[in-house]
Symmetry: C2
Subunit: 213 residues, 2 copies
Amino acid sequence: MRREGVPEPVVRRLPRYFSLLDRLSEQGVVSTSSESLGQELGISAAQIRRDFSFFGEFGRRGHGYPVEELKKGIAHILGTDLRRSLILIGVGDQGQALLRHFDFEKYGFTVACAFDIDPARIGTEINGIIVYDGARLEEIVSARVPKVAALCVPPDAAQALVDRLTPLGLRCFWNFSGRPLRSDRMDVHFADVDFADSLLALRYSMEQYETDL
Amino acid sequence: MRREGVPEPVVRRLPRYFSLLDRLSEQGVVSTSSESLGQELGISAAQIRRDFSFFGEFGRRGHGYPVEELKKGIAHILGTDLRRSLILIGVGDQGQALLRHFDFEKYGFTVACAFDIDPARIGTEINGIIVYDGARLEEIVSARVPKVAALCVPPDAAQALVDRLTPLGLRCFWNFSGRPLRSDRMDVHFADVDFADSLLALRYSMEQYETDL
C-alpha cells in the first residue's frame, strides 16, 4: 500500500475513519457502506469512495466494505500496525488522565515511562507506568530512544523540553501545553491538542445562532 | 462588527489568532504585523490581511496592527466578550484537569458547577467549583440554564447526557468523551476534543518521514 500522492485533506480524514471503523468493529459490525460511514461522519458517500480509492481496493461495489479489513488497511496507512515507544512528560491532572484512560495500544503506542519534577510524584506508578525524575530525562531517553513525547506540562515549560529532547533523537511531540512549539529541524513534527480552539469554535456557533434569532 | 458572509475557513482561524494575540498582549507587545503573525502561525501574511479585512479596519497600513485592539475585535467576533455559563459533567482526571488548569474566563465562560455520579466526588469542591450529584442534573440545570456543557465522561455515557440535557435547553456540548455525538435539532452544536485524531496525524507524519529515509 503506497502513501505517495495522497492529498493532505484525505490524510486528515483517515484518523476519523479509523476511529469509526474501530468502533463498528467493537460493536460486531462486519460490513458497512460509504453511505452509512458518510452519514456517521458528516461526509458525502462519494467523498468517502474517492478517499478510499487512493489506497487500492477495499471490498467490491455493491457488497459494501468489510469493516475489519478496511480498519486494518487504514491502520497500515497510518502506521499504527507497528508498535512505537512514547514517553509522557508531566503527570499532573492532564498527564494522569491520559495514562489512566487513553488507549495508547489501539493507536500503536507503548508508553515506555513518564517524567515529572514534583518529588511527590517521582517514583510513583500510574496505571503501571513508572514516573521518573525529570532530571534523569537525558539518561533514560538516550537508553530507550522513544519516538514520541507527550508534553503535558505548563505552557512555559514546553519549548524548553523540545529543545532538550530533539538533540536526543526525539522527533515527534504531542503537545498538550496549549502553547505553539517550534523547531529549526524539518523532521520534527508537532501535533497540538488545543482545548481553547474547539471551545472558541463552539462559542462562535452559539453566538451566531443567538444573533440569528 | 458584522459576522455575515465570513467564510468558514476564516472563522476556523480566528481562535488561533485570538490565542496568539492574547499571548502577545501578556508579553507586553503593543503592535504587530501580518508578517510576524503569519510566521508565528504558519499562515501567509497576505492571508492574514485578507482574513482581517472581513472584520473592518484594524490599524493602518505601514503602522502594524495594535495588539490589544485586534484581540478585543476578534473576541467580539467570537463572542467571548460576553460572559456565558458552563457546566462540567464528570470530574475524573480529565474533568479535574480542566477545572484546575483551563482558563475559562479568558474565553468568556464562567463554570457554574460540576456533576459526577461517584459518591466520593459528590459534595467536594474543585478549584472553588461545587460537584453535585448527577441525579440532580435536571433540577439544577433547569434553575440555571447554562449555555454549554463540557462532557468529561466515558464514551458510553456521553450521548445519553446530550439526550437528557437538550430538552432542558442546553444547546452546546464540548465533548471530551472521544465518541461522536448527535442531535436531531439543527440548533445543537458539538465541539469534539479528540486526542486520537491528533496523535494519529502525528503518527502518520512520523512514519511518512521514516519511509522517506
